[in-house]
Symmetry: C2
Subunit: 205 residues, 2 copies
DNA sequence: AAAACTAACTAACGTTTGTTAGTTTTATAA
DNA sequence: TTATAAAACTAACAAACGTTAGTTAGTTTT
């Protein structure tokens, strides 16, 4: 007991350093993958960004693909967690959709690199991991769609085609990633509000 | 004079063959780029698809990038032409937007490979060509935005944020490419109509 | 003080990449 | 049938790729 704690205290610094370095590598990898795509980003590029040789990176990670997996599945987990929470909240369906829209926008602004990788580079996952990824995504979409369906049944949404509505909403959100620049002078709250307004009420006068 | 015509007639068949083969290469390249991305698709992959050796492809094209350019700029031209026509039509602004939506949907269904390459692989263009591409795209977006702005001024659209409305519409359309499958049992007309309905009137009851 | 561990390095591996050069086959015209 | 041009081939290139091996210096544990 006593010994365990003591060991932890002593080991802390080196362990902490390792974790930090690894996190730096993952973070820079996300930035690089976003810029050049998974295939276009080389380990030597990445090495330069983190200030070491390409081979040295393998002291911290197992493979290039492990980086991709960590980015994709880490973020997927975040999406799932937040969806679960919103599902449980006792608010109306329009408010649930609006909350999801706000969450998506916030996530993009907070971690645009990871979101970009999740959106664009998941197809470079190994076929095993890709199956897992697609399963998670399909699950997410189904639960999102269910919120729309229930809203229609409850009479708070028009009788739209659920699939098309779902993909219209998700698509609109996906591309905040490409479009958003802090310099544009739009806060994330404004952005979420405007997107919600268009999707909820349309553009027609 | 006489000689020129004679030569043309004689050369025709072989020229035609060349054009056809080249078109096949470009078409298969689009399919391959969509599947694996520009970086992930090798010339040897492409060669196999068109039934020849990789080196032989260079009898028909100058470089791999030339394929990318042909796909991107060819389609960009199509978009521009159609936008020009719709701009000139004497219909209301909502109808113009709806016409553009229908056009985007149709183009995706007709030539999903090229649209996918245009959407995802333009960033692998050489920096020179990329500038041209971005200029064309910006021009397209500006003219699309102008239709929304004028609609607002005319009082047929709500006073929405034009940029956000524009990117919401374009985003929704971009992802038809990823989503649409003929097997889903939705005609392109239905699809365009449903998307238009949501963007024009929203989902809220 | 010895042993073990950490984190970096250099060098090199075997592949794959886009592309070029030179040669052979195929198709067409005279 | 023969000359010619087109379209394919084989072989090879240099560069870049992800990754492994072996080593070194510095730190921590025994």
């Amino acid at each position: 007991m006593y010994r365990t704690i003591a060991m932890k205290r002593i080991l802390m610094p080196s362990v902490k350093t390792k974790i930090t370095k690894r996190a730096l590598i993952v973070s820079e990898a996300a930035k690089l993958f976003k810029e050049k795509g998974f295939g276009g980003a080389s380990m030597r590029d990445l090495a330069e960004k983190v200030g070491m040789e390409a081979a040295s990176i393998y002291h911290h990670i197992r493979s290039k693909e492990e980086l991709l997996e960590e980015i994709c599945f880490g973020l997927a987990k975040t999406y799932e967690t937040q969806l679960s929470e919103i599902e449980q909240q006792k608010i109306g369906y329009p408010e649930k959709i609006e909350a999801l829209i706000a969450f998506h926008v916030q996530l993009i602004i907070e971690d645009v690199n990871a979101v970009s990788v999740l959106n664009n580079d998941w197809k470079y996952l190994s076929s095993e991991k890709m199956i897992d990824f697609k399963t998670m995504r399909k699950d997410y979409e189904k639960r999102f769609a269910a919120l729309i369906s229930k809203g229609i049944e409850a009479g708070v949404f028009k009788n739209v085609n659920v699939s098309i509505a779902l993909f219209t909403i998700l698509s609109s959100l996906r591309w905040v990633e490409l479009w958003y620049k802090p310099t544009r002078g739009v806060t994330k709250e404004d952005l979420a509000k405007n997107i919600s307004a268009i999707l909820m009420n349309g553009v027609k006068a």
